[in-house]
């Protein structure tokens, strides 16, 4: 096979793999959306109930997803089947940015994932104002990005670290206590009557 032909073949393989991956993405989304609706997380009342600390559904879903996800992903990582995909971070991004997100979370009553679910659930405030607002907010960020990227976004930069790498321990030395901690928190929430 000539060099140029080889290139074409590789390119086609990559493209068809990408196309297949789009279908997988759609499939994962359908299951994710189905579960979000079954959990009640596509509803403003449930999300605000969590932020007002009267309904702990959202936290229960997130913590049980984190604990169960952690077991499988770290097991597959130790088998060499998967690689982690860690977001790089900084104090500016993850304290200031996340707090801004939190305010928007309370004002809107949906987040980017659950609003897609709220759209499927038929909520008209989500379909109209909510989606438009989120897109607009990201666009404002894109305009401001050149001014932010070397300033506040870099403030207190710490990169793409995990707790095992930060503490310089074997993965499981961090995973096992994290799971136990999550289970204890969930027990405590249940015991408190939520």
């Amino acid at each position: 096979m000539k060099e140029s032909e080889k290139e074409v073949t590789t390119k086609n393989t990559v493209e068809s793999e990408d196309k297949r991956n789009l279908f997988y993405g759609l499939g994962f989304g359908i299951v994710f959306g189905f579960l979000l609706h079954k959990g009640g997380a596509t509803k403003y009342d449930v999300i605000l109930g969590q932020l007002l600390l009267i309904d702990y559904t959202v936290l229960k879903i997130m913590l049980s997803a984190a604990a169960s996800g952690m077991i499988g992903v770290y097991t597959m990582k130790s088998m060499g089947w998967v690689k982690l995909s860690i977001k790089s971070g900084s104090v500016g991004m993850n304290v200031l940015g996340a707090s801004i997100f939190g305010v928007g979370f309370a004002v809107l009553g949906y987040c980017p994932g659950t609003i897609a679910g709220a759209v499927g659930n038929g909520y008209l405030d989500a379909i109209t104002g909510g989606v438009a607002g989120i897109v607009l907010g990201t666009w404002i960020f894109a305009i401001m990005y050149p001014a932010l990227k070397d300033g506040i976004l870099k403030k207190g930069f710490f990169g793409d670290i995990t707790f095992p790498s930060l503490l310089k321990v074997n993965d499981w030395v961090a995973v096992v206590p994290a799971i136990i901690l999550i289970i204890l928190v969930l027990f405590w929430i249940e015991k408190a009557g939520f």
């Binding site: 991004m93 939190g102 004002v107």
Partner: protein, 177 residues
Amino acid sequence: METITSVFTDVIWSPYAVGIGIGILSWLSFLISGKPIATSTTFARAGGMIEEMMMGKKAKQRPYYEKIKLMINWQWMLVIGVVIGSFISAILSGDFKVGVWVPSLWASAFGDSAFLRVIVAVLGGIILGFGARFAGGCTSGHGISGTLQLAVSSWISAIFFFVGGIIAAHVIYFVIA
């Protein structure tokens, strides 16, 4: 009586069943697609694509859009899938809402004006979308996928999503209302 089919028509499942379901879904997402479940970059891509449609190629040259790349990708399809999946579950359980503009909790404090609710939703959406890209992720990307990988950036973000959210929700319902 609970049967196999009634599970699908139930409006609400235990949050633990849902959470563990999402946890297992994330195993498959890592294994099959090599990616964590996340959603907020898609809204930024959508914004860039709209700008590109209205203003032309210049949009693509914005440094942020060069970084995230304006294309329909895996995560775009995932977000479309969430809409479809939630729709299927809502229809199966008779929970699909028709003509609902104002959530009941909102109405109990601020009345049933659709206009007011939509204006506030736009405002909240702007803050949320801006914050999501500022933080580099949202409640899915940081809150679930990042925390399950024990990412430091994601645990800090998840905590501050709730710190900001809990304070703002209390201000909205106990100070403003």
